[in-house]
Structure formats: structure tokens, C-alpha cells
């Protein structure tokens, strides 16, 4: 396996490896660095600059606390219905419905008939007529609905900081005047039915009316003491403190590793051609399998190495924290998650890079991978949304242990699939290399055969 080490050294001596590390470290710096310190400090009583909606992860909740953080749930259907209706009314008025079918914005405009139906739905929910809907009182909807804060709820204090008025979710009593404030005239179940209809009217995925989106945007409620305790226990005993951090780390790193390794891999193989070294290398005794596998393992190793090193920035303080508090910490959480979540991803990406570079003698693998990356990032939610073919596992939160538990089987299947894709493409690459070494596959010839006559016809003559 001396070849493996030599290939690792070759990578370490290349310029592009340092570009890769630079980008990796820069992203890490912007996203994950300091998160651990912040949480540890918070537990010690130094809250972070912007608290947001959450509670300190590492602090044991006590009954005297007045706020236990918030969670996304369906506990408050009234709030959900209110938030969704407000959004629906606004979109109806402009006849522009936001959808995100592949993660990127797409505006849907409805026909007159469809708009009529939407109006009917609106009237049914609010119990108002069309004219009344056109002329709603200013405080018909409260300032804050779910996680969407309307502008007038914010005020500026003496220091020029923006503050929001928290809490005070509109408590609607059934006797409330439906003309003055929003009062849903339908049950939550029926409401969900109506929203399903809205979804099909719109016709695209990812609108605000899908059940997941409704809950995510508008279904926020406060956690109770018991729930906070449960979360804390999960963090300490199930996650052993480091688990949550490891997951968030892998979320950020996974984004980078879904794309950047391809540059490294492409360069390794294109270098053979550029240095005219291919003739020499191909005529040597070594089997194509050994050559491909050695280089493949070397790329995977060198890509994951900096990631592992970066994890220590978080691991070490957490170990110290655990020692201080007498809590046992999982030393191997980072390694576990890196191997479980990131390794299969890197395997797949690297293998695809080798295959397409060998096949086409060009860096087209970069474009292909970029496309996959864009689409995958677009369709995957920020956490808990791992599907069968997901490349990058997202888990953009320090919490959510149970999300992973619930999706465990799917995640494992998915990671096996990714690793399988990696191995498959390695085998295909070996096959391609075998033929290349015998001169049977020549990318330039194939290209010329397919596009040759087209190019000749389109030839602009003196175009450089």
C-alpha cells in the first residue's frame, strides 16, 4: 500500500489541496466556529448576542426559569390557521403564490376560475364576504404569527437595536368578533383539508400550504418545563453532550463536502493527461484496479483529514466542560458522525469525479456534481429531511436527537446507497481505465464522432 501513501503525499503537495482547505476552513469559520464556546458560555451564565427562540442547550432547566425555549408543533392550531390564512390572503391579492419545487423560488399565477375558488376558501375560513375581506381593520391579524414577524411589531430602542414584542400570541376567544379579529370559522381538520386543496390548485411542491411548511412557519409554541427537562436529559445522557454538536458540524461540513472534493479528484486525473504522463503510467504493470483504488482511498482520506482536525475545536472544550461538570462525554461522537454521515458522501462524490474525468478527459464532472449539489441542497429541508437519494444530510440544529432516531432507518439506507454509489462508480472507473489503457476509449474521438459534423456545420471559421 505504499502507492496509497505516495498518492496522499502527491495530493498534499498540490496547490489545489490548499485552496480546498482554505475554502473548507473559511466556511467552517463562518458557520460553526465558536458555536461550542457560545453554548458553554451560555451555560455559565453569559448569554449570546442574539438569543433567538431557543434555550441554552447545556443548562439544566429549573422550575424558576420563565422561558423554556420554543418548539415547532401543532399544539396551537389557532395560531397556525391564523398565520396561514394571512399568507393566503396576501398571495391571493397579488395572485402570486410562492412555491419551491426544487428548493428555488417559482411564482405561480392562477387562472380566474382558480382565483375564484381561493376566494371561496378564504371566505369560508374567515366567515367574511369578499367586500369585507377587501377592507379589513388594521389589527385584524396580530403582529406576530409564528415565526413571521411583521414589521410593525418591531421597535427601535435607545441604542438603535431592533426589538420585537415577543409573546402575546393572539388569544382568540370564541366570543370574539370575527369582523374585528381573525377567528377561524372552520375546524382544524377541515382547515387542513382546505389547504390540501390549495396545494393541488397551486400544483407545485413546496408552497406554504403543505403540512410541513404550515407547521414550520406558523406552528411555534413554548416548551414546558417538562419538555425542557426531557431535551436536557436527551442532550446529556443520550447525546452525551457531543452528539448534537457533532451533528451540526456534519451539517455544515456536509455542504462543503458535497461539492469541493470533486475539484481535487478531477485535478488528480487530469494531471496525468496534462503532464503527458498517461503513456508512461498506462504502460506500467500495475493493474487498473490498484491504481484507481489507491488514488480513490487517498482522495477520501485527504478530504476527511482536515474535517477531522477541525472537529477538535469543538471536541476539546466539550471534554473539558464534561470533566468540570462531572458529566460523561462521548469522545467519539465526531468520528462516529463523520464516518456515518460524511464518509459515504465523500465516497460518492469522489467516485463520480473519477468516472467522468476518465471517461471524458475533461473537467465536466465539476459541472455534473455542481448540478447535483444545487438540486440536492434545494430539495432537502434544513433538518430531518433525509430521503433515499439525499446526498447531503441536513441537520441544521444542535437539537433534534429524536429526529435522527425517527429517521434512523432511512438515514442508514440512504448512507448505504451513497456508499454503494461510490463503490459502483469506482468499479465503472476501473473498467473505463482498463479500456483506456488499451487505447479503446478515446474521449476526443467519441466527441468528434458525435459532435463532429455538427461542429463543422456551425464552424465560424476564424473564431479563436
Amino acid at each position: 500500500m505504499k502507492l496509497y501513501f505516495k498518492e496522499c503525499k502527491k495530493i498534499a503537495a498540490s496547490v489545489i489541496y490548499y485552496f480546498f482547505i482554505a475554502i473548507l476552513v473559511f466556511s467552517w469559520f463562518q458557520n460553526f466556529r465558536g458555536v461550542t464556546k457560545t453554548e458553554i458560555n451560555w451555560e455559565k451564565g453569559i448569554p449570546p448576542a442574539d438569543i433567538g427562540f431557543e434555550r441554552p442547550l447545556l443548562s439544566k432547566p429549573s422550575e424558576e426559569d420563565d422561558y423554556f425555549g420554543s418548539k415547532v408543533s401543532e399544539d396551537d392550531p389557532a395560531a397556525i390557521m391564523m398565520g396561514v390564512t394571512r399568507a393566503l390572503l396576501s398571495e391571493y391579492e397579488s395572485n402570486r403564490y410562492a412555491t419551491y419545487p426544487l428548493g428555488y423560488y417559482k411564482a405561480i399565477t392562477l387562472s380566474d376560475d382558480e382565483q375564484k375558488r381561493v376566494l371561496e376558501i378564504l371566505c369560508e375560513i374567515t366567515g367574511l364576504t369578499e367586500e369585507q375581506l377587501k377592507d379589513l381593520p388594521e389589527d385584524y391579524f396580530p403582529a406576530v404569527t409564528g415565526t413571521i414577524i411583521s414589521f410593525d411589531a418591531m421597535s427601535v430602542d435607545e441604542n438603535g437595536n431592533l426589538n420585537t414584542v415577543m409573546g402575546n400570541r393572539a388569544d382568540t376567544e370564541s366570543g370574539d368578533d370575527k369582523y374585528k379579529h381573525f377567528v377561524s370559522q372552520v375546524t382544524y381538520e377541515h382547515f387542513k383539508e382546505l389547504m390540501r386543496e390549495m396545494e393541488s390548485i397551486i400544483g407545485e411542491n413546496g408552497s406554504q400550504y403543505s403540512p410541513e411548511m404550515m407547521i414550520t412557519y406558523f406552528g411555534m409554541s413554548e416548551m414546558t418545563y417538562e419538555e425542557a427537562c426531557e431535551e436536557y436529559n436527551q442532550t446529556i445522557s443520550n447525546d452525551k453532550v457531543t452528539g448534537g454538536f457533532a451533528r451540526l458540524f456534519c451539517d455544515y461540513m456536509g455542504l462543503e463536502l458535497g461539492l469541493y472534493p470533486i475539484f481535487l479528484v478531477v485535478l488528480i486525473w487530469m494531471k496525468d493527461r496534462m503532464g503527458n504522463a498517461s503513456e508512461l503510467i498506462y504502460s506500467k504493470k500495475i493493474s487498473s484496479a490498484r491504481l484507481v483504488v489507491s488514488r480513490y482511498l487517498a482522495s477520501v482520506t485527504m478530504v476527511l483529514l482536515p474535517v477531522l482536525l477541525l472537529s477538535f475545536e469543538s471536541l476539546v472544550p466539550l471534554i473539558a466542560f464534561g470533566a468540570e461538570k462531572g458529566i460523561s462525554v462521548d469522545y467519539f461522537a465526531y468520528i462516529k458522525y463523520i464516518l456515518w454521515w460524511l464518509l459515504p458522501e465523500v465516497m460518492a462524490v469522489s467516485a463520480i469525479g473519477i468516472f467522468f474525468t476518465l471517461l471524458t478527459d475533461s473537467p465536466i464532472a465539476i459541472a455534473i456534481q455542481f448540478l447535483w449539489w444545487m438540486v440536492d441542497k434545494g430539495v432537502t429541508g434544513l433538518s430531518g429531511d433525509t430521503k433515499a437519494a439525499t446526498l447531503m444530510i441536513r441537520h441544521n440544529t444542535l437539537r433534534g436527537y429524536e429526529v435522527i432516531q425517527d429517521g434512523f432507518q432511512m438515514i442508514c439506507r440512504n448512507r448505504l446507497l451513497m456508499a454503494g454509489i461510490g463503490i459502483l462508480f469506482v468499479i465503472l472507473s476501473i473498467w473505463v481505465l482498463k479500456f483506456k489503457r488499451k487505447g479503446k476509449i478515446n474521449a476526443a474521438n467519441i466527441y468528434h464522432k458525435c459532435f463532429g459534423h455538427m461542429q463543422d456545420k456551425l464552424s465560424f471559421g476564424s473564431k479563436k
Binding site: 489545489i16 463562518q30 399565477t109 478531477v266 465560424f460 479563436k464
Partner: protein, 193 residues
Amino acid sequence: MAVKNNLILAAAYLLIIPLLRGIANLDMVRSAECLEQAVILTGIFLIAPLPAPEQSKAIQDVVCTKKIPHWKILLLRFIMSMLLLILMVCLFSGIMVWKNCIFPFMPYVAGTVISAMALGSFGFAAAIFSNSVIVGYLASIGYFLLNSLGNVSEDSIFYLFSMGKGNYSTKIWLFGLSLLVIAVVFIYERRKR
């Protein structure tokens, strides 16, 4: 010849954009988003790989001993690519308008072209200095993603998506920076040969 392949790739990319995101009925903010976050990538296709044909030393030795200095040829390619870029952005924006998007045409086209140019020139410079087009691609894509993932602050002069935030002054900075980078590259090329 060098430009033709890039052109085909760029055109193919533009055709893919409507499959991924909507280009119809967009309001001003969303239109800016579409243009800035998707269309400017054509800058990478058209500009970053311009030094590619002369990457091999053997070819360099041949090309650089001819009467016409190499940097002039590179400049010619660059200008041609810029013209193509402007053309393609105009075309795409035109299609967007035809599909009921609402936005100020000339300012948006200019803004998009400038961001694309910045993106492309960054990669172009990286490719020249490292003598590797792949490094150029990495630099460009890295720059784009750093913006896209929120790692570059909105107020920074390197921010590519300022149009969507209603801020055109960044564009002027970007334009200036691109020109500076291009100038440095060409002075370097001139000196080198």
C-alpha cells in the same frame, strides 16, 4: 475555438435554469434573485476557462514566440466573451420580461453582467496565476457559494447579490474590482512573455 465550447456550455446552462426555478411572473425582488443567483454563473462558463488552450507548456512555447503577443490574444478572447455574456443576459432577461416578470430592464441587465464578470474574472485570474483552469473553476465556484451560503456579508463590496437588496453601489465596486483584477492579469501576462 476556445470560446465556442464555453458558449455551448453556457447556453446549455441557461436552458437548464427554467427547469430548476421559475422564470415567470416574478416581481422585482424575485427577478433580481433569479438573475443574480442563477444567471451570473454563465460568467464562470464564459470567462474563467479562457486561458485553457495554452495550459500545456509545449503550446505556450509555440504560441508565445509568435509575432502577436499572447496577451493580446487573451484580451481578444476576453472581449468576445464579454460581448457574448451581455448578449446572453439580454436574451434571458428578455425572455423573463416576456413571461411577465417585472423589473427595470437595463439596470438589472447591467447589474447581472457586472456580477457575472466579477465571478468570471476571479476564476480567470486564479487560472492564470496557477496555470490551471480547474483551480480557476474552484475559485469562481467557491466565490459564488460563499456568497450563496451567506458567508459574505451583504455590506461587503464583494457581495454578488446586492441588486436583490436594492443596493447598486456594490455593483460599482464590483465593476471596479473586476477591471482591476483583469488589468493585473494582463499586466502579468505581458511581463511574463
